[in-house]
Symmetry: C2
Subunit: 332 residues, 2 copies
């Protein structure tokens, strides 16, 4: 369970690519920014946080669940974050502007100034305005503030770039190293969430779920049209590109479905795990995608692909290990 | 993999309940009926089949997949149907009027007349018209022709009512027994398909998948609105009402998700299976639904519920074992 309540969503379209969508990111103008002290002459060290806007209906007064399961540790035994105390109720929406990641009380008690805003893109955005004084910059995988070399050059006080989640491909790592900026993430925090999402999408794609659901909503229950593209995953070839925290979690969850499971990775899993999950190992993605005889399996691969594409680009050395042309090698 | 290609869809709304939808069931009027010999004086024994209309775009010229996995046996070791030969390509859409369940060649070679129609409801429907001469009546779980006592009384030649799938609650079993009509189904044929569908729906409900998908389609990527109702299933209490072919398959598939699994059933599973899947057994659905502390778990239960409601009503003796009021016992 990710600590910040933003599990289960994919990256938003970039406003630069979809300028007409930009208004939706800032429509909650009244709550788009929350900071007590906006004097740029403040002597307090500044923590600058980019979070997505509050829900259109306002910050939730209550939730679908009264509580959330307490996760004690990650599947590999790694412990979950264990702060001494928190001043929010687990399950509350912390990833939006009003949620403030639950950090205000903690930071202000420790002498920091906290600036939270959803205005992170374009010329004269609020994040850029505060950047020169920031010691810490935080943003999220689904609402990234890109720390380019140009921005890092403009942030002489910057000591740390934190991802409230997983990933660092929004930070120019070379520039960060040159400026001695620590780049950190909350490793494993939403890996299981992504794995659940991948399994859900595999099932939904194979079973033609959403088109069938939409047909019902439209009052147009045409069974033939729904089922002519619907299959079971049982017996299909399903693969993951890489089998780290997310990939292995996907494979574990797909195992009881009676599929033929494949993976490729630079690091091979143990023989014990391969045997337990009856995995077929492929050395390269190219061979991997070409060998999948099932068209639908390849579509799944493409989906896991996209998720993994984000993961494998964590470091420049792995960024090019999977490239788009691989998709065209898939057998139809 | 069900043999007739109609896996993964739920029962259509009854035209009697939703009269405005009826047109969608018969819009393919031109292909609504296929039978070579419509003389009611035919001396050949008649097989009468109700199938849903062809796709709106016509019978598929090709499919998303070139082949489908070959399933050798069901999970309990039961063998799959093994006809000596078939004259269709596995994966072709057989459940609609043009698909004819792949039976025409076989039946005509054996001296039967085959009548296939989608006109199965209302006064003067084609199924009723042919019923008096039918020796065999076939329909499907998602496009049922109800063999009521009144209809069975009008079918003096009827020897067999076949469900092309699973279920017999559309047949008046007492009337069938009195008239010595065999009532048969293809046990297990789509149980795994339903289990996959249930797991998919559990994930989609917990993760708020469809509302989030629709938000993207509408060009309205409001992250807060999507995630404020999105959770992980990890650690949740998930239950099935009954743990037979479908229920046990759901529990097996949910096991690697790290949930707390519950079930209730009149027949308890073996200690070995309970231990393997770490199952909590409940004697009654009432206790079962009340003990689930998770609101979302209860929603899942309600979903599995509806699927199971169809299953448990297979025989009158079990029809009342689960009743709607149980849902209101669920803790929120």
């Amino acid at each position: 369970m990710p600590p910040f309540g933003y599990e289960g969503v994919k990256a938003p379209p970039s406003p630069a690519l979809f300028p007409t969508l930009k208004s939706s990111f800032t429509r909650n103008g009244a709550k788009a920014s929350r900071h007590v002290n906006i004097r740029h002459t403040s002597t307090k060290p500044k923590v600058l946080v980019a979070l997505y806007p509050d829900p259109k209906s306002g910050y939730p007064p209550n939730y679908a669940r009264k509580d959330i399961p307490k996760i004690e540790s990650y599947p590999d035994g790694q412990t979950v974050p264990s702060p001494k105390e928190i001043d929010f109720v687990p399950g509350e929406l912390l990833g939006c502007v009003s949620g403030e990641l639950g950090l205000r009380k903690f930071l202000e008690a420790n002498g920091y100034e906290l600036v939270v805003t959803s205005d992170k893109d374009g010329k004269d955005c609020e994040m850029d305005e505060h950047l020169p004084e920031a010691e810490v910059v935080i943003s999220q995988p689904f609402y990234l503030y890109y720390l380019t070399r140009q921005r890092i050059d403009k942030a002489p006080n910057l000591k740390m770039a934190i991802t409230a989640g997983i990933g660092s491909d929004h930070v120019d790592l070379d520039a960060a190293m040159e400026h001695k900026v620590d780049v950190t993430e909350v490793t494993f925090s939403n890996s299981i969430s992504v794995a659940e999402h991948a399994v859900m999408m595999i099932l939904a794609l194979v079973r033609n779920y959403i088109p069938s659901h939409l047909a019902i909503i439209a009052g147009d229950w045409a069974i033939s049209d729904c089922v002519s593209r619907a299959y079971d995953v049982e017996g299909m070839h399903i693969g993951t590109v890489a089998a780290g925290r997310i990939g292995l979690a996907v494979l574990r969850r797909m195992h009881p479905f009676g599929c033929k499971l494949h993976y490729c990775d630079r690091h091979r899993l143990s023989a014990k795990v391969e045997q337990e999950l009856d995995l077929v190992y492929h050395q390269s993605p190219q061979v991997f995608v070409a060998i999948c005889h099932s068209f639908f399996a390849c579509v799944h691969v493409a989906h896991v692909f996209r998720i993994w594409f984000q993961i494998v680009t964590l470091s420049p050395s792995t960024a090019l290990c999977i490239q788009r042309p691989s998709i065209f090698l898939m057998r139809s």
